[in-house]
Amino acid sequence: MKHTNTSRFKTFMSWVFKLSLVGIVVLAILMAYMDAKVREKFEGKRWALPAKVFARPLELYPGLALQPKYLIQELDQIGYQRVPNVVTPGQYSFNGDEMDVFRRYVKLYDGEEPSARVHMRFSAGTIESLWLDGQPVGLARLEPLLIGGIYPKHNEDRQLIQLEEAPSLLLKTLVAVEDRDYYNHFGISLKGIARAMVVNVQRGGLVQGGSTLTQQLVKNFFLTRERTLVRKATEALMAILVELHYSKDDILETYLNEVYLGQSGRRAIHGFGLASQFYFGKHISRLSPPEIATLVGMVKGPSVYNPKRKPENAKARRNVVLDVMNQHGLISNYEFAVWQKRELDVVQYSQYQRIEYPAFLQLVRRQLRSDYADSDLTSEGLRIYTSLDPIIQRRAEHAMSNRLASLESGYRMPKDSLQGAMVIAGTESGEVEAVVGDRNPRYFGFNRALDANRSIGSLAKPAVYLTALRSPQYNFITPLDDSEIKIAGANGSVWQPQNYDKDSHGIVPLYQAMSRSLNQATARLGLQIGLKNVVQTFHDLGVSRDIPAYPSIVLGAFEMNPFDVAQMYQTIAASGFQTPLKAIRGVTTQDGQLLSRYGYDVKQSIKTEPIYLLQKIMQRVVKEGTARYLNSQFDDSLNLAGKTGTSDSQRDSWFAGFSGDKLAVVWVGRDDNESMPLTGSSGALRVWAETFKGLPLKPLYPLPTENIVEQWVDIEQNAISSEDCDGAVQLPFIQGRLPLQTLNCAQAPTPSTSKSWWSRMFD
């Protein structure tokens, strides 16, 4: 019996030994695996740093039309503080017609601007004179607005800091509040665990954790938030490994950069560096003790103690932290008494609490796609300098949402049934200055400016008329037939375009057929000049997609998105010189090394003369045609040009218009492609007008060439006339393409009772 017991005991011990051995081997493998994981994370690149995207730096110079209110908006957005007298960088003062801006040092892709005091004097919405550090200058640049980031999928954002940048009070407070044995333990704190257990038993639940800073870091870096024993054990083991390999300072610096400190929309704020900018608009080194207390207090619960969203909670928590600081002798009793009464003083605006521009950012990302991998954009901390103009972008966003709402109420359409998109670019530079992809400009989703392919309707007409004006057979007043037209299709169908007013207008001069957007005359003209030639003109204007040579294309029965339409109209606005629309100027590394630059590029794809005539006609669209609403909204001297567009069954409302310096294409429609009681004129045109109302525009002067002549003509007779003849009007022609007949003024019949309709128009 005894022998049996001894034998069983031996067997048992043998199993224990074997199992222990297996356990030790498994533990060793596990430790080796965790060790590799810890070292890989700590010794590699610890964080993915999102690319930061900047707007254009505002160039200030005497003669620049700039309303002070827009400059103030921009200064507020970039985190400048308004004060009575500027003393330090990041401040500005304004007294009605004089402004002082103490510019911060700024590094751009094309150089740097030192910190300096910029003084401006305004007169009638224009900068009259400019000084830099007391010296009169011709030019000064401000720092650009940070407009967003290109984030990895988890949307983490951070601004890395080094340990020495953090105030020692912050480090001491953090240690005092979160892990008072930090400098004594080896990754886990038995004292801390015991203390937490006592508190938890006293309170009857899990109210306090015993995690050290190292454990918190390990949890954030490698583990999930679940509360299981296995997870806690892994965390403890990894914390010990981290402490074995790295110094306390290194671990603390990593913690300072890793800790999650709140949310800004889709963006997660990580690290004290970004948090101090985001909540207080200042560098971490400049935080005051109460601000330090607020941020350290947030570590316990970034949502519950968020000073912007839950100020009462945050204030109470801050005061608890101030109390701890006082108990540890970090602040005096007097300071504690004073600071616990102080407001939180979080900033309303800061560079880092930015409004993002999702539609524009999407364009930036697409344009970078050919040169950069997605992983570079989301992890290398690149700095992307763009052409976005925040002043124009803001106006465009406001005009879109405001005007769509008023159109819906004015035309009794269901609320939120309309959608819209807009692209604004510099006519010559081709730089995209604003993009709206949704009536809610903060929406990160379907971007109609880039992806909504819709029928362009009459926006196609300039290509048709330009094709005619490129050919020697047509001039400004060539008579066109606007009678009914039927065109047989290949499968027995008949295409019968009609004018918007359902009437026919007989013989009309070429320029009026376009300015009045007559469909019948345009369809007939398109067939006369040849559809292949029209398609070629579209391509010459910068349309890269395939366009089938069907008759209906002359009335825009094919789809384009607003961005591609803007490219087409840029060529027209820039007198036939095509510049690829671009949103990016340059890209640098995190420390400012230039990686790539996207410079000005141009190609003359249309001769200047026919474009000159087309611009003149498009100016008449605004003066007397379908876009004449602009006359009541803008100064005549701007000589704006444009074209309205309405697609079949009024499903799409378009307007493309330009001044001497800005081009904007607006689309309004419904996502379900249902028809609306809107035309290009009553819909998109109104959004365009509201956008530019109050913004400075440069007048448009079409560029004549030596081959352009101004000739007195009689439109009705399609003949050359002279100044003193009845009904004569002076119009532009390309040399050698004048009307063939010359009217003898003395012999011309003089209407006794009534004048022809076109003569009346010029009275």
Binding site: E59, E428, S429, F577, G599, G660
Partner: protein, 148 residues
């Protein structure tokens, strides 16, 4: 050995150079007329004809950027020069001398296609000024003939 050869080569190049730009510093730029330092071909083909007697445009911002661009040009910093010219273009989109300068710049970088397009852009802007137009046409023809 290689570095000695490099130093000798640079010294030789410096000795051959006629442009006095080595001594230019910020102070001198402020006090001297940058145009004086330009090579004669640049002087003749750009400043004189387009700006009427070597005058920079009246608009201070534009003049300032063009002066800086010219300085970078003669220093051989073509990228910096181009960036400054693009800034000038944004301020004054129809200033022909910006496009002429860009044309020279691309030409010197052997990008004749862009050089020609910039010259065409300039030509469209000066067409009503016969003297300037003549000069830009000459530039255009020279580029087309690929002569420099």
């Amino acid at each position: 050995m290689k570095s000695v050869l490099l130093v000798v080569f640079i010294a030789l190049l410096a000795a051959c150079s006629t442009a006095p730009y080595q001594s230019l510093d910020q102070e001198q730029v402020r006090t001297s007329d940058v145009l004086d330092t330009l090579p004669s071909w640049y002087h003749h083909n750009l400043g004189l004809q387009l700006n009427g007697g070597n005058q920079y445009p009246e608009q201070q911002a534009l003049a300032s950027l063009l002066k800086q661009a010219d300085l970078e040009f003669i220093r051989g910093n073509f990228q910096a020069c181009q960036i400054l010219l693009e800034r000038a273009q944004r301020i004054s989109t129809r200033e022909p001398s910006v496009y002429v300068r860009l044309s020279y710049l691309f030409w010197l970088e052997s990008n004749t296609q862009s050089a020609e397009q910039m010259a065409r852009r300039a030509l469209a802007l000066v067409v009503r000024d016969p003297v300037a137009a003549q000069e830009v046409k000459r530039l255009l023809l020279a580029i087309q003939a690929n002569q420099y």
